[in-house]
């Protein structure tokens, strides 16, 4: 069946908003896609528009959380802080107050992986065992959406309560991914995947892919270290929490040591004004 699809260009000669939408939704036919990409390769205005549109897609809340307002989207962490007995209640209470990233419901529908739900699966078949991953096996990017703009976070970037964080990764090996926020007290917040107990299955890609979930930053001041851990085989949040609990100084300015042996690990530290930094 041939669909009556929009044209690529608007009347000004730039690509139209409808074309950008279809390109991001990956429903453009091959001919239109070719024309679209050819134009973008020579038009900085439209290339910026596409990138900005992609950033909006990235920062979209999940359908289930849409329209409920910030107060309800910014949920309390809905899952477990697994503390070893030695850490005790005091640290757990500190985690509750210092928790820098609250876990909202899933943020879905982000391009360039609008139909890539199959790429992200909290559970599933085992990944083939290999020799382990190194840092080069994972590239990790964080985007900040403050409701007026979306931009890629640099190390030390400032965020404020209510900002939404989205994530992109690029891998060349099939593996399992988990993204966590760790505050200076060592409290963990699971950012991706937000369901289940295990890391999500990721298929290799030449381009960055957007994780279909994001988190909303809460109002508590301080620093948040966002850590992506990528392993050839599945692992659990509890395994990472146990590794973090052994750290002498989780609030160190230095990059964290490798939390799980044989896994790639990338991190980015964000600051929230009013904290110690």
């Amino acid at each position: 069946m041939r669909y009556d699809t929009p044209g690529v260009f608007g009347r000004s000669g730039h690509v139209s908003e409808l074309a950008i939408a279809d390109a991001l939704a990956e429903v453009m036919d091959a001919d239109s896609r070719s024309i679209f990409e050819q134009h973008l390769s020579g038009c900085r205005v439209c290339a910026r528009r596409l990138e900005a549109a992609r950033a909006v897609d990235l920062a979209m809340p999940s359908w289930s959380s849409l329209g409920e307002g910030s107060a309800t989207i910014s949920l309390r962490p809905r899952r477990r802080w697994t503390w070893p007995p030695v850490v005790g209640v005091a640290v757990a209470m500190a985690a509750a107050t210092l928790l820098a990233v609250k876990i909202p419901t899933a943020l879905t529908g982000s391009h360039p992986v609008a139909d890539a739900a199959s790429d992200f699966s909290p559970k599933g078949s085992q990944v083939e065992s290999g020799e382990g991953f190194g840092p080069e096996d994972l590239a990790f990017q964080v985007y900040i959406n403050d409701a007026t703009a979306v931009w890629q976070a640099k190390p030390g970037a400032e965020v404020r309560g209510g900002d939404r964080l989205g994530f992109q990764v690029r891998t060349h090996e099939r593996g399992r991914l988990m993204v966590m926020g760790i505050d200076d007290a060592g409290a963990l917040a699971l950012c991706f995947p937000q369901e289940g107990e295990e890391a999500a299955l990721i298929n290799p890609s030449n381009d960055y892919v957007t994780l279909p979930q994001a988190v909303r930053v809460d109002d508590s001041p301080g620093r948040e270290r966002l850590v992506a851990v990528y392993c050839p085989e599945t692992f659990t949040f509890d395994a990472v929490a146990a590794a973090v609990s052994t750290l002498d100084d989780p609030g160190s300015d230095e990059p964290l040591p490798t939390l799980l042996e044989g896994c790639a690990q990338q991190e980015l530290i964000l600051n929230k004004p009013g904290g110690d930094l």
């Binding site: 069946m1 669909y3 009556d4 929009p6 000004s12 409808l18 939408a21 991001l24 939704a25 609008a114």
Partner: protein
């Protein structure tokens, strides 16, 4: 599942006809339920958000986006099986936003907010036709003329795409745009 979707879904049947996503398009022979809307939202939520941010400030945008998709659910019967979902949602989103703007008498935001958004079409304040349309003309137009005018002056769509959005012939679009441009010229001269 979002409760509002559940309520809508449970309260109505679209004349036995509903939709589903198929090959990245909507197929009217199937069923548009809460799940389909969620998939549609995942694909086109960003586009609708960009559309809504043309008209509304960010703190209202999420609510408006939700309303747009709920209206899409209500208007399932208006979807043509051979049309693209982007065109269909663009029409619903634009119509809803303009209706709300009329209702709320917040017309000036149509220009002021949209012109500052980085993801908007490449219009500039130097685009005098668009400015005149937004400042002086749009409030007096009927729904079809308004949709055509916004699609043309603000969103930079081609005649062909406007015809798809509005659901009329390209010739009709051309005639309407000629009339609108005449109005703009008269107001500019006046």
């Amino acid at each position: 599942m979002h409760p509002r979707v559940a309520n809508r879904e449970g309260s109505r049947v679209v004349g036995g006809m509903s939709l589903r996503l198929m090959d990245n398009h909507l197929d009217r022979s199937a069923r548009l339920d809460a799940r389909a809307i969620e998939v549609l939202y995942r694909q086109y939520g960003g586009m609708v958000m960009r559309r809504v941010l043309r008209f509304f400030p960010p703190d209202e945008a999420e609510d408006v986006v939700q309303e747009v998709f709920l209206r899409a659910l209500d208007k399932a019967e208006t979807f043509r099986g051979d049309a693209s979902a982007s065109t269909w949602l663009y029409q619903i989103a634009t119509h809803y936003c303009l209706t709300q703007l009329k209702t709320r008498s917040r017309r000036k935001r149509l220009w002021g907010t949209g012109s500052q958004l980085p993801w908007g079409s490449p219009i500039t304040p130097a685009n005098q036709e668009a400015k005149t349309f937004l400042n002086e003309i749009w409030r007096d137009l009927d729904d079809e003329m308004l949709m055509i005018g916004v699609s043309y002056f603000v969103d930079d769509l081609s005649h062909e795409d406007i015809a798809r959005v509005v659901g009329c012939s390209r010739r009709t679009v051309g005639n309407r745009i000629a009339a609108l441009r005449q109005l703009v010229a008269e107001r500019s001269d006046g």
